[in-house]
């Protein structure tokens, strides 16, 4: 066994471990997705297929909520695209850390989910890709598993609103955010991003506020680092 292979395996296992708490929380999140999707009239099979093929929580919630509110399919897909647009800068950041030709790189890019991407960042602009794969793999398993539980068992659970399941989604992302607020500059950027998004909520279609918040990262153009 070569050194590279054993390093990859170690990273993969570390990723699986690091992804476990997010996978557990993701199970509850996708369970709530399964219940909500069934309420919009989707069949259990289609609900489970959506989680298995799309595997992007915020986009799935965005698309479903637009359909539930009576919006068109086009609007739902655009909302999913806007919500997922944050994966564009994430993919750009990840790109230098991925080996192989276009097809292989495209396939590796599919493994990006928020928590894995954030945790696989090594702080110097590079990413541990096997850590990323491991962390996303375990989250994929529970994402689909939770959807199956929600789609098939939703009737047993009762009203998801009464149960407070809608609080899962923001809390999941809050946990990721707190891990990112290591220095003063990151905290300023987070505050600015939040302000931009909240200011745009009444003015723009869903998805746009979060996308526009990425502009706050331009504070990084200033060379001087407060944290150092």
């Amino acid at each position: 066994m070569s050194t590279i292979a054993s390093t990859s395996r170690r990273s993969w296992r570390a990723g699986l471990r690091a992804g476990l708490p997010y996978a557990a929380a993701g199970f509850l999140l996708s369970l709530s997705f399964g219940v909500l999707a069934r309420e919009t009239g989707m069949s259990a099979g289609a609900t489970i297929a959506m989680s298995a093929i799309v595997f992007a929580g915020s986009a799935q919630f965005a698309a479903i909520s637009i359909v539930a509110a009576g919006g068109g399919l086009g609007a739902a897909v655009v909302a999913a695209a806007l919500t997922n647009s944050r994966f564009l800068p994430m993919g750009i950041a990840l790109a230098p850390s991925l080996p192989g030709g276009p097809l292989k790189r495209a396939a590796q890019g599919q493994t990006v989910v928020d928590s894995s991407w954030a945790m696989a960042a090594q702080g110097d602009g590079s990413f541990d890709r096997w850590f990323l794969f491991g962390s996303s793999a375990i989250q994929y398993v529970t994402w689909v598993g939770g959807t199956v539980a929600g789609a098939l068992g939703g009737d047993v659970l009762g009203d998801p609103h009464k149960l407070g399941l809608d609080a899962i989604f923001p809390t999941f992302f809050l946990a990721l955010l707190l891990a990112e607020l290591r220095d003063a500059r990151a905290r300023r950027v987070a505050a600015l991003g939040a302000l931009i998004a909240l200011a745009l909520v009444p003015l723009t279609p869903p998805g746009v506020p979060v996308l526009a918040a990425s502009l706050a990262a331009l504070l990084g153009l200033a060379r001087r680092t407060v944290d150092a």
Binding site: P21, A25, L28, T40, G41, S43, A46, V54, A56, S58, A59, V67, L73, V77, A80, N84, R86, L88, P89, M90, G91, I92, A93, L94, A95, P96, R105, A106, Q108, G109, Q110, D114, G125, G164, A167, P170, T171, F172, A175, L177, L178, E180, L181, R185, V189, A190, G193, A194, A197, L198, V201, P202, P209, A213, S214, L215, A216, A217, G220, L221
Partner: protein, 103 residues
């Protein structure tokens, strides 16, 4: 929603998600990126995550509203801040939200 509409929605969401995730890795190849670019990229996560949290906890369609879920997320935030795990935070958020809605 009809079965045909459902599958159109799923296919559309899947295709657009795959394209977005593939774009960066394919277009950029293995090129080295300038330092200023990497600094901006590193700050994308706090900017996007803060926006996602605030919008999902405070936005109700196109208006801002403080609800039981906002309180649940805030209490969970305290738990997470004090070093609680993500799964504990989620449990607290759900419990507080459900409790406030029950009373």
């Amino acid at each position: 929603m009809s079965a045909a509409a459902t599958w159109t929605l799923i296919t559309g969401c899947a295709a657009i998600t795959a394209a977005i995730k593939a774009a960066g890795p394919v277009a950029l190849g293995g090129r080295e990126l300038p330092a200023w670019f990497l600094r901006v990229i590193r700050l994308m996560a706090p900017a996007l995550l803060a926006a996602l949290v605030c919008v999902s906890a405070l936005a109700d369609g196109d208006r801002l509203a403080v609800g039981a879920d906002t309180a649940g997320v805030a209490v969970a935030g305290l738990v997470l801040w004090r070093g609680g795990s993500v799964i504990l935070g989620v449990a607290v958020a759900v419990a507080v939200t459900a409790l406030l809605r029950a009373v």
